[in-house]
C-alpha cells in the first residue's frame, strides 16, 4: 500500500518537476525548491540543470555549542555521489549568512565514495588535520557538521566514515573515534 502511494506520489512529483522546468525555462526562476526526497529519476540532465533543490547545511554560531541549519539551493543532481561531493564542497566553502564553518580554511575534499550499504567515505586532504584547533569541541563540530549535513540531505547515506589522505585514522584531534562510522545526531543541533 505504502509503496504504491509512494510510486504515485513520485510520478506526480516528476510530472510537476517537468512542468516546473518547462515553465521556468521561459519565465523568472525563483523559489521553487524541490523536495530532496522525491526525486530519483535518472532521466533528468546530469549534473547541472536549471532545476535546483534546497539543501540544509549545519554550521556553528557564536550563540551556543550546537550546530545551526542554513539552507541553500544547489543544482539538482541525479547521481547521489555527485550530489554528495557538491554538498561537501559547499559546506567547506562556508556559510553565506555569517555562520561559522567548522573546518580549517584550506580543507579540501580528496575523494568521495558511497558503498552499497549506505556508508559514505569522505576523504579529505591532510589540511583538515594540520590546521585543526584540536579541542574536543572543535572535533565534534567538524565531524557532526559533515555527518549531519550529509545524512540529513541524502537519504541514501546512512552513516559516514571520515578518511584523511586516503587513510583511516584513529582520531581527528586526539578525541573522537574515527575508526567507526558516524550516524546522524539530532541532539547536537540547536532548536
Amino acid at each position: 500500500m505504502e509503496k504504491k502511494r509512494r510510486i504515485i506520489l513520485a510520478v506526480l512529483a516528476v510530472l510537476l518537476i517537468v512542468l516546473a522546468v518547462v515553465f521556468f525555462q521561459q519565465g523568472g526562476r525563483d523559489s521553487t525548491s524541490l523536495s530532496s526526497g522525491v526525486f530519483k529519476d535518472p532521466g533528468v540532465p546530469d549534473p547541472e540543470t536549471e532545476a535546483r533543490e534546497t539543501v540544509t547545511f549545519y554550521f556553528l554560531t557564536e550563540d551556543g555549542p550546537n550546530l545551526s541549519p542554513e539552507t541553500r539551493e544547489i543544482p539538482l543532481f541525479a547521481s547521489v555521489s555527485l550530489k554528495a561531493r557538491r554538498i561537501v564542497n559547499e559546506l567547506l566553502a562556508g556559510s553565506e549568512k555569517g555562520l561559522i564553518c567548522p573546518f580549517p580554511e584550506k580543507t579540501q575534499l580528496r575523494e568521495f565514495y558511497l558503498s552499497e550499504d549506505g556508508t559514505a567515505f569522505v576523504d579529505f586532504l591532510g589540511e583538515v588535520r594540520n590546521h585543526h584547533p584540536f579541542g574536543s569541541s572543535a572535533d565534534i563540530a567538524t565531524i557532526y557538521s559533515l555527518v549531519n549535513t550529509l545524512t540529513f540531505n541524502i537519504k541514501e547515506i546512512k552513516q559516514v566514515v571520515i578518511l584523511v589522505d586516503g587513510r583511516e585514522n584513529q582520531t581527528l584531534g586526539g578525541h573522537l573515534d574515527l575508526t567507526k562510522p558516524f550516524v546522524f545526531r539530532a541532539d547536537v543541533i540547536s532548536r
Binding site: S35, S36, G37, V38, L60, T61, E62, P65, I100, C101, P102, D117, G118, P133, F134, G135, S136, S137, A138, I140, A141, T151, F152, K155, E156, K158, Q159, Q170, T171, G173, G174, H175, L176, D177, L178, T179, K180, F182, V183, F184, R185, A186, D187
Partner: protein
C-alpha cells in the same frame, strides 16, 4: 586462593556478609605522605568512630560486638609512635600515640568496603622528609592463630590521563599555550590532592612530555584494575566565545540515536527510507560489543555530573551539561571513565586562568570534590 579474591570482594560489595563473629574484624594501618600521617581503619562492618584527643594521645572509640578481631599492620612512622587496640564491653578502642601534642586531624570515610581515615597533621616545626608510603603495601602482622587475610586492603587505583603529549600537543592557543603542558600540571596537582586526602593510589598515564598511544592510556587503567579513569584535557573551538568546562563520557547508545534520527526526520517532514534501518541498528550494536566501557556507562555519567557540578561552581558557568560522545580513549577503559575539558584555550580569559598555577590548584580541587561526592554516593 587468589582467584577467589574478586568473588569475595563482590560478596562484600553486595552487602556485608561478614557480620558473623568469627569473621568480624577491625584493622588499623598507618601511612605517611609528605605533609600528613594517615590512619586507616578497615572493618568488616559499618563503623562510626568517636574521636577524642588529649595531649599526644588520640582515642578512637568504635562500637563493635564482643569477639571482634582487632588487627594491626606493622608500620614505621616519624610522628605516630604507637597504635594499640583494647576491647571493652560493646566498644573497641584504638589508642594513637604521637610524638607531640601539637597536631590537628580530620576524618573521612568510604562505605564500601568500609574504610575510615584519620588524617593527622603535625603543627609547628615538626617536619618529616620521609617519602610517601602507600598503606596497602605495608607488611601485615596477623595476630597469632588468626586466619590469613582473605580480604584485599581495598586500596585502589585512580588513573589520571593527561591528554596528548610529545609531538602531539593537542590544542594550542593564539599565544602558544599548549594543551599538553596545562593538562600535565593539573593532573599532577590532582594526583597530589587525591593521595594526601584519600586512600587511593594514583597513577598517571604520562608524567612527562611524551607521546602515549590511546590504547596504552586505556591499558594503564585496565592493567591496574583501576577504580576510576579521568582523562584531563583543555578545549578549543572554532567559536571565539566558547568558554568554560565540559565533562564527557562515552556515547554508544546507537539504537537510541537511531530512534532519535527517525523522530527527527518525522518531525521535519523529510522522507526517510526505513527499509533497512533495523539491520543497521543490529550492525552498530555488534560493533559496540567490543567496547569495554559499556558496563560502566551509568557510573561514568554520575561521575561526570559530580565533576561538572564542581567545575561549574568554580567557573561560575551556566551548566553546559554533561555530554556524551565517541571518545576513543574512553571506549577501551574497563571502569567508570570521564574526559574533562577544563576550559577553552581558544578563549583568552580561560587561557589566562589555565596558565595560573593557583587556578590550576582550584581546578584540581574542584575535580577532587566531584570525585569525593561520587564516591559518597557510590552505594546508591
Amino acid at each position: 586462593m587468589k582467584r577467589f579474591v574478586p568473588a569475595l570482594v563482590a560478596v562484600l560489595f553486595c552487602g556485608g556478609l561478614f557480620f558473623g563473629q568469627d569473621q568480624s574484624f577491625l584493622r588499623v594501618s598507618v601511612s605517611q605522605s609528605t605533609s600528613l600521617h594517615r590512619i586507616l581503619i578497615e572493618s568488616s562492618f559499618p563503623i562510626q568512630p568517636e574521636l577524642q584527643k588529649s595531649g599526644n594521645v588520640l582515642q578512637v572509640r568504635i562500637r563493635s560486638e564482643a569477639g571482634v578481631s582487632l588487627r594491626k599492620n606493622a608500620f614505621e612512622n616519624a610522628f605516630i609512635r604507637a597504635v594499640g587496640w583494647k576491647q571493652e564491653t560493646g566498644v573497641s578502642i584504638l589508642t594513637v600515640e604521637t610524638a607531640g601534642s601539637a597536631f590537628s586531624y580530620d576524618t573521612f570515610s568510604i562505605d564500601n568496603p568500609p574504610q575510615y581515615f584519620i588524617n593527622i597533621r603535625p603543627e609547628g616545626n615538626f617536619s618529616s622528609d620521609r617519602p610517601a608510603v602507600i598503606s596497602g603495601r605495608e607488611k601485615e602482622s596477623p595476630e597469632p592463630g588468626e586466619p590469613r587475610r582473605t580480604v584485599p586492603r581495598g586500596i585502589r587505583t585512580i588513573v589520571i590521563d593527561p591528554g596528548h603529549g610529545g609531538l602531539e600537543a593537542g590544542a594550542k592557543s593564539a599565544e602558544g599555550t599548549l594543551e599538553k603542558d596545562i593538562v600535565l600540571e593539573i593532573s599532577r596537582k590532582l594526583k597530589k590532592i587525591i593521595e594526601t586526602q584519600f586512600a587511593f593510589h594514583v597513577e598517571l598515564t604520562r608524567d612527562k612530555d611524551v607521546e602515549v598511544s590511546l590504547e596504552d592510556r586505556a591499558a594503564t587503567a585496565n592493567n591496574l584494575n583501576a577504580f576510576l579513569f579521568l582523562s584531563i584535557h583543555t578545549n578549543s573551538s572554532f567559536r571565539k566565545n566558547a568558554r568554560g568546562p565540559e565533562t564527557y563520557y562515552l556515547s554508544m547508545n546507537a539504537p537510541d540515536k537511531e530512534a532519535r534520527r527517525l523522530a527527527y526526520f518525522e518531525n521535519t517532514a523529510t522522507e526517510l527510507d526505513e527499509s533497512d534501518s533495523s539491520n543497521e541498528t543490529d550492525e552498530i550494536q555488534l560493533i559496540l560489543w567490543d567496547m569495554a566501557q559499556s558496563a560502566y556507562l551509568q557510573q561514568s555519567s554520575r561521575l561526570a555530573e559530580k565533576i561538572q557540578a564542581e567545575l561549574n561552581l568554580l567557573f561560575r558557568t551556566r551548566d553546559r551539561g554533561v555530554k556524551q560522545n565517541k571518545f576513543y580513549v574512553l571506549a577501551g577503559v574497563a571502569c567508570p571513565a570521564v574526559l574533562i575539558e577544563v576550559a577553552f584555550l581558544s578563549f583568552p580569559d580561560d587561557e589566562k586562568k589555565l596558565l595560573s598555577s593557583d587556578f590550576q590548584d582550584r581546578v584540581a580541587q574542584a575535580i577532587y570534590k566531584g570525585l569525593v561526592n561520587y564516591i559518597r554516593d557510590y552505594q546508591e
